[in-house]
Amino acid sequence: MRSRITRRVRIKTPDLNLVDRVKGHIDAIVTAAFQAIFPDRITIQYPRERRDVPDNFRGMIQFDINKCISCFQCSFVCPANAIMMRGAPDGRYYPCIDYTRCIFCHFCVDTCPRGALLRTKIHDVAFSSMEEMFATTEELIEPPEMLREDDTVIRYRIENGDLVLEKIEEIAELSTRPEIQVSPAKLSACAHPENCIACTLCYLTCPSNAISVKVVEGKRTFEIDPKLCTGCGLCVKECPTCTLTLIER
């Protein structure tokens, strides 16, 4: 094992004589004095100026209700249990985010199969109470309100081997463009009709009314409408005999 580490740098501590010491003192003082005259400032005066952040910035989360398929995956993957799925009047379940718990790992955003959760560049919203930090679905649809004082964007740039703070006189755009997401193309279907006990739970669960049930002559007929089915998998989860499954479209 040891023989593998053949390349090594020896670190020696210097033995200083008087000349070295005086030189060291002078070096330190000159360096500081140089900075005092030509400072390499990197401070950003935050509420007035704002750091330029990339589009993939993990800020507060915005929600596009039209794309959500109530698949619950965001709430399943959340490591901090910050996402609660709340029943909406239309019978579906939509996420609410508890920002007291959210750790901004954006696992949920990376999980969402339809791109219904959007990243924003907002990270600095002040809340006046703990209750307010619970963002309901309605609050998630619009980007959170915040007081803006900034009129300048600061961008880090490296020029000639040194850091330059580039100042751009503009008000930073904080929302990001939704990334176009390929539809997951899943469809609910019955894999084992012989297992079905005709319990109609799938029909009762389906948030988009894609499953219809008819009773004809002592037989219960189930039908899945592929146009309405969003592939959310709720019926698959509910089915007591595991007859339903998700298939590729």
Partner: protein
């Protein structure tokens, strides 16, 4: 009868009073500051009955020296300035902005004032184990040795007391400040304050001897310890005559005022402000400014001994104020140099600082005495 008797009594009283007031007024107006710029205004004011007493008092040279500049008011102004300047300069060196939010348009210079107000309204916590009366008294008492030296420091003709023993008196008064700090540490009755007090005591002996020798060297060099005469004699600034003494004075000044390489007694990261660990509120504000006040006094002394005191290019509009201004500017520059060190150095260990004090500095101080003796004996000085 009774009525007329009392009225007569009154009249004599008034006469007595008038003569007393007039005598005092005579003393004041005979030794007034002569400032050409405000001369017309002063002349007008001197004709107004009661205001003239006030004007005469303010412009009376001893009063001006002690209460205004370079005394109390100058001290307060320099305090506000140096705390702001120190933070600003350190920030500049450290790629930061420094205090800015308060009075953004003038670079945040009101920040120390705001801090002072915060200290003032903060609760003063006196913990159970502290010696309550002394704990409260000492930060205030500490002002006595800090302020008294101002009496003896001349700015041209503006001075309060002129005595041939000015230098020893000032040095002995300054030497009392660490005693007060030790008393503060004792009254705090806390573990960290105790360690800090012991360190302060060690440091006291470490720097005081080279400091006194360095000052002595200058007294030997000038052949007098009358500060007025010392300033008079400086055709060439003392720093050019005896740079070693100036160096020793500067380093011991850094030690005495707890500037950074020697901020050992207070050592924020090690013993949490040492003797002052238990203080809060305005009492902490007082103890915190103690070192700066000491620095101001030592800066004045350094200017007088090495930088020619109040001498400088004449400013004809200011008359008697000219040396005051020059002295003040020199003292503040010395304070700025001290403030600059803060951004350059870490803190030494107590043993290293003591070793430095007892070996290099004491040696250099003796060398400076020798140099001073040679110069003095060689008659290089007029």
């Amino acid at each position: 009868m009774a009525v007329s008797g009392t009225s007569r009594q009154k009249q004599t009283d008034e006469v007595m009073e008038l003569t007393l007031v007039n005598t005092v007024f005579q003393i004041f107006s005979s030794n007034m500051m002569d400032i050409p710029v405000i001369k017309p205004l002063v002349d007008v004011l001197m004709t107004v009955p009661i205001v003239k007493y006030l004007v005469a008092l303010i412009l009376w040279k001893p009063f001006f020296a002690v209460i205004l500049v370079p005394g109390l008011t100058g001290l307060m102004l320099s305090l506000l300035f140096i705390i702001w300047f120190e933070r600003k300069l350190t920030a500049r060196i450290q790629w930061r902005m420094g205090p800015l939010e308060i009075s953004r348009s003038i670079g945040g210079i009101l920040q120390p004032l705001a801090d002072g107000m915060r200290y003032f309204f903060q609760e003063i916590i006196i913990h159970k184990e502290a010696h309550r009366p002394y704990f409260v008294q000492f930060p205030i008492l500490a002002f006595i040795p800090v302020l008294l030296p101002v009496l003896f420091i001349p700015a041209g003709t503006v001075y309060a007391i002129r005595t041939p023993y000015a230098l020893p008196v000032i040095v002995s008064l300054i030497s009392m400040i660490p005693v007060v700090i030790m008393a503060i540490g004792w009254a705090s009755n806390s573990r960290l304050a105790f360690i800090g007090t012991v360190r302060e005591a060690f440091m006291y002996f470490g720097y005081e001897i080279p400091f006194i020798i360095a000052v002595l060297a200058m007294a030997v060099l000038y052949g007098t310890s009358d500060l007025y005469l010392i300033v008079e004699k400086q055709r060439v600034w003392g720093i050019a005559l005896n740079p070693i003494s100036a160096l020793v004075f500067l380093i011991t000044m850094a030690m005495a005022t707890s500037r950074l390489p020697f901020e050992i007694a207070e050592a924020d990261q090690e013993i949490a402000f040492g003797p002052f660990v238990e203080y809060s509120g305005i009492l902490f504000g007082l103890t915190m400014t103690l070192a700066y006040e000491k620095m101001y006094i030592l800066g004045l002394l350094f200017s007088v001994l090495f930088l020619g005191g109040g001498s400088g290019p004449p400013l004809p509009f200011l008359g008697d104020l000219t040396p005051v201004i020059w002295l003040y500017i020199k003292a503040v520059i010395i304070m700025c140099i001290m403030a600059f060190l803060r951004a350059v150095y870490p803190r030494y260990r107590i043993d290293q600082a003591l070793r430095l004090g007892w070996t290099y500095l004491a040696g250099l101080a003796v060398v400076s005495v020798v140099i001073a003796g040679l110069i003095s004996a060689g008659g290089l000085l007029p």
